[in-house]
């Protein structure tokens, strides 16, 4: 399938960070159109479009809007999740730096649907340039009188992956330690400041203007019936042309990797693909003839996730990769619930032992069992995210783990592409208590 722009439409030809340029291609014209609709009709249209959330879980955006307790006497809030921290993902950044006004236009439309006057965009703290571009766009659009009764506030995070989880994000936005909340109550009923809140990913919201422009029926013709529309795929790792590619949903993974991204770098062999950002089960080369959409990915035991493919070639030791991945989740565990806080750390210890060559076969069972005891039992999905990839390596590349144990060392003999990769959890960070070991 050829590339198809919707979110990024016009951005190759013009500098769409400029308000005048964006308006020149019809920007912000969908806002009055949407505002002419009743919120009920607008929500119905969004539901008909079946836009699936681009943040990871793929929950239909219109259905979420329909759950908002619009009768509540409290204000309603729209929160845009621009925390993009999933390893492998860099698509939201593309939208914010190249088509910031499209995101804002989507905000105004979505806000109308849920009868909200207050929009917050929570942008990860590391995105400084992105923040500046977005802030300028907000400023320009506000000055141009495009917001009407709505106000859009940018809120910068301060460095914590967990704040991408929607309820942790809300706590962080409220000025707290960003730790997830139990559900129920669900955000559409009790979210930000205990008021009804709609939370969506940047790309989800930036797709909304296209739905109004095309109408739900025509929008649904793009992509697949279960996953309409286009998606910006972030491709990284060992490919010739890593980067973002906006494609229709349903494009084959092989096409994305080998045609758009130019195939495996240096002509090497593909070893594995982590298709949705580092948190999902990995696929083997035999599994890549699969349409990239929510349902097809689910059918082969992984997740569409954040549409972010990490492509791994044959120089990579997967035990080392598993260790590095788990160290990330341990580092980012918020510390609130037991299985994730204690379990990720234990997994790291076991993986370190295996990687060092000190492992025994029973350690593989233990690793699997610890994973099983985290899976589905933690307060939010971060615990699951730590386990999914490791469990998939264990299942699909078990031989590599066994080789470490039997040879008493890494079979790559120091030649793995991720040999010795340093993790932030290993560096001395200044906790408030100097003596807490990692």
């Amino acid at each position: 399938m050829p590339a198809r722009s919707m979110l990024l439409a016009g951005a190759d030809e013009r500098d769409l960070t400029k308000l005048s340029e964006y308006r020149a291609i019809g920007g912000y014209e969908q806002v009055p159109k949407a505002r002419a609709m009743t919120p009920d009709d607008l929500i119905a249209e969004l539901q008909a479009a079946n836009l699936r959330g681009r943040g990871g879980a793929g929950f239909p955006m219109g259905r979420k809007a329909s759950l908002i307790d619009r009768k509540s006497a409290k204000p309603k809030y729209l929160v845009v999740n621009a925390d993009e921290s999933e390893p492998g993902a860099f698509k939201d950044r593309e939208v914010m730096t190249r088509v910031p006004h499209r995101l804002l236009e989507g905000c105004l439309i979505a806000a109308h649907a849920i009868e909200s006057n207050d929009v917050f965009i929570y942008i990860r703290g590391e995105y400084l340039t992105e923040y500046e571009i977005l802030a300028k766009a907000v400023e320009d659009a506000r000055k141009a009188g495009l917001f009407g009764d709505v106000d859009i506030t940018l809120y910068r995070g301060a460095g914590a992956y967990i704040c991408g989880e929607e309820t942790a994000l809300l706590d962080s936005l409220e000025g707290r330690r960003g730790q997830p909340r139990p559900r129920p109550p669900f955000p559409p009923i009790q979210g930000l400041y205990a008021a009804p809140t709609q939370i969506n990913n940047v790309c989800t919201i930036a797709t909304v203007p296209s739905i109004i422009e095309l109408g739900a029926d025509r929008f649904r013709e793009i992509g697949t019936p279960g996953s309409p529309g286009t998606v910006i795929f972030s491709v990284s790792g060992n490919v010739e042309k890593p980067g973002n590619y906006e494609l229709e949903l349903g494009t084959s993974m092989r096409e994305l990797i080998y045609t758009h991204a130019g195939g495996i770098a240096g002509g090497r062999q593909l070893k594995a693909v982590i298709p949705g950002g580092s948190s999902v089960p990995a696929l083997t080369p035999r599994q890549i003839d699969v349409p990239l959409d929510y349902d097809s990915m689910g059918a082969i035991g992984t997740f569409f996730g954040a549409a972010s493919l990490i492509v791994i070639d044959d120089r990579c030791c997967l035990v080392q990769l598993a260790l590095r991945s788990t160290k990330f989740y341990m580092h980012e565990s918020c510390g609130k619930c037991t299985p994730c806080r204690e379990g990720t750390r234990w997994m790291v210890q076991i993986l370190e032992k295996i990687e060092r060559g000190d492992g025994e076969l029973s350690d593989l069972d233990l690793l699997g069992s610890v994973g099983t005891r985290i899976l589905g039992r933690s307060l939010c999905a971060l615990g699951d995210f730590a386990v999914y990839p490791v469990a998939s390596y264990l299942e699909k590349f078990r031989g590599e783990f066994v080789a470490h144990i039997e040879q008493g060392r890494c079979p790559y003999g120091g030649e793995s592409s991720v040999e010795g990769i340093f993790a932030p959890s290993d560096q001395h960070t200044h906790s408030t208590v100097a003596t807490v070991p990692a």
């Binding site: 330690r177 139990p182 609130k336 619930c337 750390r345 005891r373 039992r377 307060l379 208590v433």
Partner: protein, 727 residues
């Protein structure tokens, strides 16, 4: 209110009916099934679902669910670990994770034997460990304050303590720091947790992470007894238990009375007990020798001496009461001094009266109120600490809480028909008035206001006067009931009988003593009696007496002797002494109470006062008057509020661990007054009035209204009236 909809929930095959929305943990309990928990504690606010101990299987859901975050819905079917292998495996997993880094130092842990972690591990946990790596080790124990020690290795990060600090005590001092596996419980910059309600975290901690420094290595659970009693250090009367080992009190814990204290204690009540073992505790009677010295004498000599003093005074006796005596003690004293000797004059540190009995409500009604008005500028927490927690709970529940400023003025203002707030008080079905001021005629003015606002007809509205003494009301009533006679206050005082430590420490009583020919003091502490008493009889603590108290709600509560005092208690020697004047007094509190109860408590038997006493129903009382006098002329300067600090008084002064909680030498000013004078928090300032002045540190307070300043009495020197504050 409509009665809540009942729903049917099935737990492990057992059906129960509970109101819709009941927590699943409580629902299961109603079915006789326990869902084990660590972090779940409804008193701390909404569940957080952190520890994952409560995992259950729910029909229709593929994953295990945290039971503590679920509520009862019709048709809900739940399988707990009792019947579900999956849930049992889940709980086993949670415990395995909890124990991965737990030191398992139970043999040397104070919590051992009364530890939820031990108990749940025994029932649901793994029998052996699969963890072969070195456990995390941390510096321990860390002093969180002089009263609380923290062992971070044992901490399971249930966040009970930090949630308590943030959303019950609202002191925001105990927090979690760092993230993930490095998270620890801490205070700001490791400074002491200095707040009036800090000790409650000791009982909330489900493991041995937060322990009492007083109780450290003092006892094992199987060698202790917990004796139920009530706290006698303030007018709230929190329900407590004293933990004893070998006859000695080792700690005080709460005995949750949901209407009085909800299971919280203030630090004075919790940690103040070591005054029992003060260095200057008196065990034997003492007689004055030469000018200032005291010598120990035998009890026989002491009774002879007391008899002689009483006879020589020839009826010109004045009694200074503390307000901390038991009802029985006060009654017995009255029988002897009034009935036996015709000496009817007594002074109490404050006025009390029955006027508010018509507006009685349990303290918990504050939490359920929609509108609360506090009259008076004294900090509520300093007078009746737990009331402050109820006020915070009310605010969290969405109640409006108003501070009406000067009590008398506010009282008159609210009574006016046109007053806006007064008008809303007249309309509300759940309004509460609280009087936090030294003035007020023992609640009479407040009662007049409540009557004027129509509270008598609205059972959801009530009024509380916060007295200064723990049992002033009971003491006054018992003294009054002890005899029918009346008598003149003697011109010249032949003998001043000083009953108890608070009276002995009271400057007004000392001034009276200057005018008395002789002084007989009952006190626990030698330094309180030395220098002015002719005869000293050993006093006892509220922890050493059997009897009853009346708290500020008007609730009659039972005090128990938790440990044996070093000398016979007051009732015992009063009875003996009374014999010499042919007054028959039973030395047993039950008998004394029976006699008194017939007169003023509708004959309620002693045994029925109850371990968790009910509140007596509202009763009519004569209608008092609103305060009449016109507002005191404003005058120059700022009105000084001198208040008795919570952490003060003879008992607290003798508790080394509580000295860090004593009031700071500071003056509290409103932001406006501070700004006008160019004063910032921390500045050294001079507070002066009429030639006298005191140097103090300034603290700018957000809660104080302009025009008044507050200083703890012990730092206020001779200041009174209106003052000026200068840099």
């Amino acid at each position: 209110m409509s009665s809540p909809e009942l729903v049917t929930v099935t737990i492990d095959g057992r059906e129960v009916q509970v109101p819709k929305g009941t927590g699943l943990v409580e629902t299961a309990l109603a079915a006789g099934i326990e869902i084990p928990v660590f972090c779940y504690e409804p008193r701390l606010g909404p569940p957080v679902g952190a520890c994952r101990m409560c995992l259950v299987e729910v029909e229709g859901m593929p994953k295990l669910q945290a039971g503590c975050t679920m509520t009862a819905q019709d048709g809900l079917k739940v399988l707990t670990a009792q019947t579900s292998a999956l849930a049992a495996e889940g709980q086993n997993g949670t415990l395995e994770f909890i124990l991965v880094n737990h030191p398992l130092d139970c043999p040397v842990c104070d919590k051992g034997g009364e530890c939820p972690l031990q108990d749940l591990t025994f029932r649901w946990g793994p029998g052996s460990t699969r963890m072969e790596f070195e456990k995390r080790t941390l510096e321990k124990p860390i002093p969180v304050s002089p009263t609380i020690a923290l062992d971070r290795e044992r901490c399971i990060l249930c966040y009970r303590c930090t949630r308590y600090s943030e959303s019950v005590a609202e002191d925001g001092q105990l927090v979690a720091q760092n993230r993930g596996a490095q998270s620890v419980i801490a205070t700001f910059d490791d400074r002491p947790y200095r707040a009036p309600f800090s000790g409650n975290v000791l009982e909330l901690c489900p493991v041995g992470a937060l322990t009492s420094t007083q109780y450290r290595f003092e006892a094992r659970p199987w060698e202790i007894q917990n004796v139920p009693t009530v706290c006698g250090l303030c007018p709230v009367g929190c329900n407590t238990a004293a933990t004893l080992r070998e006859g000695k009190v080792k700690r005080i814990i709460s005995r949750n009375h949901p209407e009085v204290d909800e299971g919280w204690l203030c630090d004075k009540g919790r940690f103040g007990f070591t005054h029992l073992y003060a260095d200057d505790r008196i065990a034997d009677p003492l007689r004055r020798v030469r000018l200032r010295g005291l010598e120990e004498i035998s009890w026989d000599d002491a009774l002879d001496e007391a008899e002689r003093l009483l006879r020589e005074a020839d009826g010109r006796i004045v009694t200074a009461l503390s307000g901390s005596e038991t009802i029985e003690q006060a009654y017995a004293l009255g029988r002897l001094l009034r009935g036996g000797l015709g000496s009817h004059t007594a002074v109490l540190p404050e006025e009390t009266g029955p006027a508010l009995d018509a507006f009685r409500l349990p303290l918990s009604a504050i939490r359920d109120a929609e509108l609360v008005v506090v009259l008076g500028d004294e900090p509520v927490a300093e007078r009746a600490p737990i009331v402050e927690l109820w006020l915070k709970a009310a605010r969290r529940n969405g109640a409006e809480v108003h501070y009406a400023g000067d009590a008398l003025e506010g009282c008159r203002r609210l009574a006016r028909v046109k007053d806006e707030l007064g008008g809303r008080l007249r309309e509300s079905d759940r309004a509460i008035l609280i009087w936090s001021s030294e003035e007020g005629a023992g609640g009479a003015h407040l009662a007049a206001l409540a009557r004027e606002l129509g509270f008598a007809e609205r059972p959801g509205c009530g009024a509380f006067h916060l007295p200064r003494t723990a049992n002033g009301r009971g003491v006054a009533d018992a003294w009054a009931a002890s005899d029918d006679g009346e008598g003149e206050t003697p011109e010249a005082i032949g003998l001043l009988v000083v009953s108890g430590d608070e009276a002995a420490a009271d400057p007004n009583v000392r001034a009276l003593a200057e005018r008395a020919e002789r002084v007989l003091v009952t006190s626990m502490f030698q330094s309180l009696a030395a220098g002015w008493a002719d005869l000293v009889l050993p006093g006892t603590s509220y922890l050493e007496r059997d009897g009853t108290y009346v708290n500020l709600e008007g609730r009659l509560q039972r005090l128990r002797r938790t440990s044996i005092p070093p000398a016979p208690d007051e009732l015992a020697w009063i009875a003996k002494l009374a014999e010499r004047f042919d007054v028959a007094i039973d030395p047993f509190p039950s008998a004394v109470f029976a006699e008194l109860s017939g007169k003023i408590y509708d004959g309620l038997p002693f045994g029925e006062v109850g371990e968790q006493a009910p509140l007596r129903t509202r009763s009519e009382a004569p209608a008092p008057e609103l305060p009449e006098e016109p507002p005191a002329p404003k005058g120059e300067g700022l009105r000084l509020i001198r208040y008795k600090a919570l952490f003060s008084g003879p008992a607290i002064e003798r508790v080394p661990e509580l000295q860090f909680q004593r009031p700071e030498p500071e003056v509290e000013l409103s932001g406006k007054d501070a700004e006008k004078r160019g004063i910032a928090s921390g500045d050294r300032v001079r507070v002066s009035h009429d030639g006298t002045s005191v140097e103090l540190r300034a603290r700018v307070s957000r809660s104080l209204r302009p025009g008044v300043v507050r200083i703890a009495a012990e730092h206020a020197g001779d200041l009174g009236g209106n003052v000026e504050v200068t840099t």
